[in-house]
Symmetry: C2
Subunit: 234 residues, 2 copies
Amino acid sequence: MSSSAPKAVVLLSGGLDSATTVAMAQSQGFDVHAITFRYGQRHEAEIQASYRVAAAFGLRNHVISEIDLRMFGGSALTSHDEVPKGRALDDMADGIPVTYVPARNTIFLSFALAYAEVLDARDIFIGVNALDYSGYPDCRPEYIDAYERMANLATKQGVDGEGKVTIHTPLIDLTKGQIIKVGLSLGVDYSITSTCYDPSDTGEACGACDACLLRLKGFAENGMSDPAPYQSRD
Amino acid sequence: MSSSAPKAVVLLSGGLDSATTVAMAQSQGFDVHAITFRYGQRHEAEIQASYRVAAAFGLRNHVISEIDLRMFGGSALTSHDEVPKGRALDDMADGIPVTYVPARNTIFLSFALAYAEVLDARDIFIGVNALDYSGYPDCRPEYIDAYERMANLATKQGVDGEGKVTIHTPLIDLTKGQIIKVGLSLGVDYSITSTCYDPSDTGEACGACDACLLRLKGFAENGMSDPAPYQSRD
């Protein structure tokens, strides 16, 4: 990546979607500055995966932001509540799941906005997806549009009129199978990514939570098996 | 405060503006849940003041959120850069000051939004002021309006249609003198608040930074001296 490439801040969780988003931002010529959050999630394996993904893409800039969302409670992802297992895909689209973390994307995007402002970057990428998992309010296109409008009033860039901040959501209209297809065409190594809501201590996926089931379906649609490690596949 | 009072999340820095905002929210009948941020600011005296203010108002709910904004740099308030001293009030309105922290209010409001969502609260109060200090982009009414619109698309409340989140900015059109007048009428004890950008280790205000000069002017407009401790007043 040449030093004259425009900078972009990319939210990197270490999962399949964000790894694909990094690949797409790089393929568009951006100098990717990744930001990962340790927010009290039960799946620390995500953080480890984010390091692997950043290394695989040769990112020189990757910050880990420590924020504690457990203080508010309200989500199975930041508590010891049970994560649903073995649900039918149709059921996932029904209502807001217990794995929803209150205002999570709003908080994540706000840190990305601060980082972009300091870098003088105009572009932020987030791998949200409205299709497979419509239950999260902060993954919808109308939410992203409203966020972008707010962001352009929040920052020096907006006041100076020097350039508009754009929130890129390259995955928003893609199925999981389509996301994987794009990623494979860009050389993403999905064996190093972590998607599971409830992985083992050594980072192996459970294969039964909503996130695993969607991921497995996506690989099946591409006629292949998931290269990432699972606890049990029988 | 009765348990049937509606809950409101109030951003509490420990300064004059936020203490007045707590008083105004209480006077409107809200059960105030305060949130204070330790964000790497050089003025830790603010945090101590927030505890004093919460105690003075008898708040049963006050959370301190730890977020590190120093990782991004970009502001004199989170670095060792010099804070301007002795500026004319007219100069303060000119451009974005070095004490501006990138996307700070956006980040603060996002945590407040998460807290409100968990509490099932519909009301968030922030003591921003557009009049005295117009250089901060994220203190302008159009920014607050855009934030509120985004917030109502971000959360369960917005999806369920169960109730709209309102961002209250009761100070936005008031001068510092008017803010103090309202606060005094509501019994605010300003001796326990901390506004200075560069206080001593024991929390005494410098009396010369922009924040001190505006505050001193506000008390002067009310024909009184500031009851808070200063390092030197000669």
